[in-house]
């Protein structure tokens, strides 16, 4: 990825950013998040089909550097998260330097080769393979039709269920949750300084990993993503229990699209869905 390293070095040499959040390959060959602080460290940057992480999560987690912008290597889905954070006034466009990557899709298993069929689900319905907000755009886009969106089938199946069947489905899924909160920690839109589960005086959400405690947690997190989730699938990727969390967040995104013609993180100048009220808003789906 010489192009990326060259740009990164140039950024440091001309003081365009204080740090660059990107990916590196570790000595075991894993591609993983990495923060370069100077042009020597920039040599270690890489981008490839295993660059799965949504690095936008670090924008609200890291302390803001005193001496310059935060540079960030970002794929389309990461850009959506950056856009969303700008729309939600969590970061300012001027504080970030976006090194965008044209993206052909990412493969979750580090030992698997890339093919457009074995990319993550999100890549199969991606609309931002060429990012729409950046300072630099790198990488080559391959021309291919997106393969079949494999999540759709399960979504349809859930749709066809009775409420009781659906409850049972989620009960068996959430029953596995161990409350590691990895889903929250990787989510670029779970940036609350104090998450609702940390409100402990009194405890708002039960900390127990029981059916009741797990439902409270998993549902509240899903609700907090209503019309906000930008579909990076990070929560689902990291869940040690493989709970299909994005079925909920994606579904709510689809409702936001259908009812309000709104998709979060697509345009930094658009007011957020949750933050605006219009008398012409569609209400007939509220029963």
């Amino acid at each position: 990825m010489n192009q990326l390293i060259e740009s990164a070095k140039d950024i440091f040499q001309n003081n365009k950013a204080a740090i660059i959040i990107g990916y590196t390959k570790d000595k075991s060959g894993r591609t993983k998040p990495f923060i370069a602080h100077n042009s020597d460290e920039a040599e270690k940057l890489t981008f490839n089909h295993h660059a799965v992480n949504n690095l936008a999560v670090y924008l609200t987690r890291l302390e803001k550097p005193k001496d310059g912008k935060i540079g960030i290597v970002a794929k389309g889905c990461d850009i959506r998260a950056i856009n969303a954070l700008i729309q939600e006034n969590q970061i300012r466009r001027d504080d970030v330097l976006i090194i965008a990557m044209n993206c052909n899709g990412v493969v979750e298993n580090q030992n698997e080769e890339f093919s457009k069929e074995n990319t993550q689900i999100k890549c199969k319905y991606c609309q931002l393979r060429t990012p729409n907000n950046y300072d630099f755009l790198l990488g080559e886009l391959e021309d291919f039709e997106l393969p079949e969106d494999s999540q759709q089938e399960l979504m349809n199946k859930l749709e066809a269920m009775t409420p009781e069947e659906r409850w049972n489905f989620w009960e068996s899924q959430f029953g596995n949750c161990i409350k590691c909160y990895a889903c929250r920690q990787v989510c670029p839109l779970c940036y609350c300084e104090q998450c609702i589960v940390e409100k402990s005086m009194p405890q708002w959400i039960e900390t127990s990993s029981t059916t009741r405690g797990n439902f409270s947690w998993n549902l509240i997190r899903a609700f907090h993503q209503a019309g906000r989730c930008i579909g990076c699938h990070e929560c689902e990727r990291v869940c040690p229990m493989d709970i299909p969390l994005t079925l909920l967040t994606r579904k709510m995104g689809m409702i936001a699209m259908k009812e309000f013609n709104y998709k979060h993180g697509m345009n930094i100048n658009e007011p957020t869905l949750i933050g605006t009220y219009s008398t012409s808003d569609n209400e007939d789906f509220i029963k």
Binding site: D26, T31, E206, V238
Partner: protein, 345 residues
């Protein structure tokens, strides 16, 4: 203690008999996510070649949520009620040496200044049948923490695959001996040869760091830039702690079950959460992730050794495999060892 030759079908018969006597049986699930309860003997997995489950079997001894007691207030009268006694008789089939070794390590802390009867009862009621391990990947490091793919520590019985569907069954603990004596068909053919462990060593994962040097460095270097390097990337979830076979922190809370009744419950907790050390005043002595990660490493490779003479880690590599940002704890320790070596010369 003695060893015997057993076949896969004998192991299945053992499982079938246990099930018919209402024992609970656990084994690794097919997708190697976790240990699951078996309903039929055909489900049991004794596979030395398989990956360690993503989540360890710790929850069988130390459940993610455990009721300590129930309380009920009727007018002015308060009554307390014990939960059901923990631990039906249980056998775990096909644990890895890096699973089994966690049980005695955990026992130390759960019997420190207080004997945790819930934990102890479960250990007492459980037979761990482990299997020698022929798997290893870039995340494994059992050999760096004094264990190996053939460690019998924490097992009651130990299987070594010999040829197809045939195993050496070693009796490791007295509990294991008493157990297996109840099943005479398992101890008919005594193994009289010697098993050559030396021969196997070439295929063990190679040692990644020297524990003694790591511990020494940790004891002397509380403040160091390495914690910022890792802390900057670590997201502070508890994936690593919750999949770990040895992490054992918990939080005790009261929860309501109705208007006038409730329960006191012990839930998993982790030093990787900010809330873990947050004082009521709002002050947090471990205010950022670098301090929390430092605590994790010190607890495992320094403090626990000091206090209990055990390493709080079995080298199973689960935390690394599952980390959302692929932080490799063995690589961190390797770096620490380099720092220690550099300090010596």
């Amino acid at each position: 203690m003695k060893s015997f030759i057993v076949t896969r079908s004998q192991i299945n018969s053992l499982a079938a008999e246990l099930l018919s006597k209402n024992w609970s049986i656990f084994t690794q699930s097919e997708d190697r996510k976790r240990f699951k309860q078996c309903e039929s003997e055909s489900e049991i997995s004794v596979d030395g070649n398989g990956k360690p489950s993503d989540v360890s079997f710790k929850e069988l001894f130390f459940p993610k949520s455990e009721t300590l007691f129930y309380f009920n207030r009727d007018n002015e009268e308060l009554t307390l009620l014990d939960p059901a006694e923990p631990g039906t008789k249980t056998v775990i089939f096909g644990a890895k040496p890096c699973d089994a070794a966690s049980v005695p390590v955990l026992s130390k802390v759960f019997n420190w200044d207080y004997n945790d009867e819930f934990f102890n009862k479960r250990v007492e009621n459980t037979i761990v049948i482990s299997i020698a391990c022929s798997y290893s990947d870039e995340s494994c490091f059992c050999t760096s923490v004094g264990l190996s793919p053939f460690s019998e520590i924490g097992s009651d019985l130990f299987l070594i695959p010999t040829e197809k569907d045939s195993f050496i069954l070693k009796i490791v603990s007295e509990k294991g001996e008493k157990f297996i004596n109840e099943f005479p068909f398992m101890i008919q053919k005594e193994f009289e040869g010697t098993f050559d462990l030396e021969n196997q060593k070439a295929s063990f994962p190679k040692e990644k760091f020297d524990f003694a040097s790591v511990k020494e460095w940790l004891g002397k270097n509380f403040k160091d830039e390495i914690w910022n390097e890792v802390g900057e990337l670590c997201l502070g979830c508890a994936q690593c702690a919750y999949v770990c076979p040895t992490c054992h922190c918990f939080d005790i809370v009261d929860e309501n079950c109705g208007v006038s009744c409730g329960r006191r419950v012990k839930n998993w907790d982790s030093c990787q959460f900010g809330l873990f050390t947050k004082h009521a005043s709002g002050h947090n002595p471990r205010e950022d992730q670098s301090r929390r990660y430092r605590q994790r490493v010190n607890h495992k490779f320094n403090y626990y050794k000091q206090r209990f003479d055990e390493i709080l880690c079995t080298g199973c590599g689960r935390c690394t495999r599952g980390c959302p940002v692929s932080i490799d704890i063995a690589q961190v320790l390797e770096k620490i060892q380099c720092k220690q070596s550099a300090a010596i010369v």
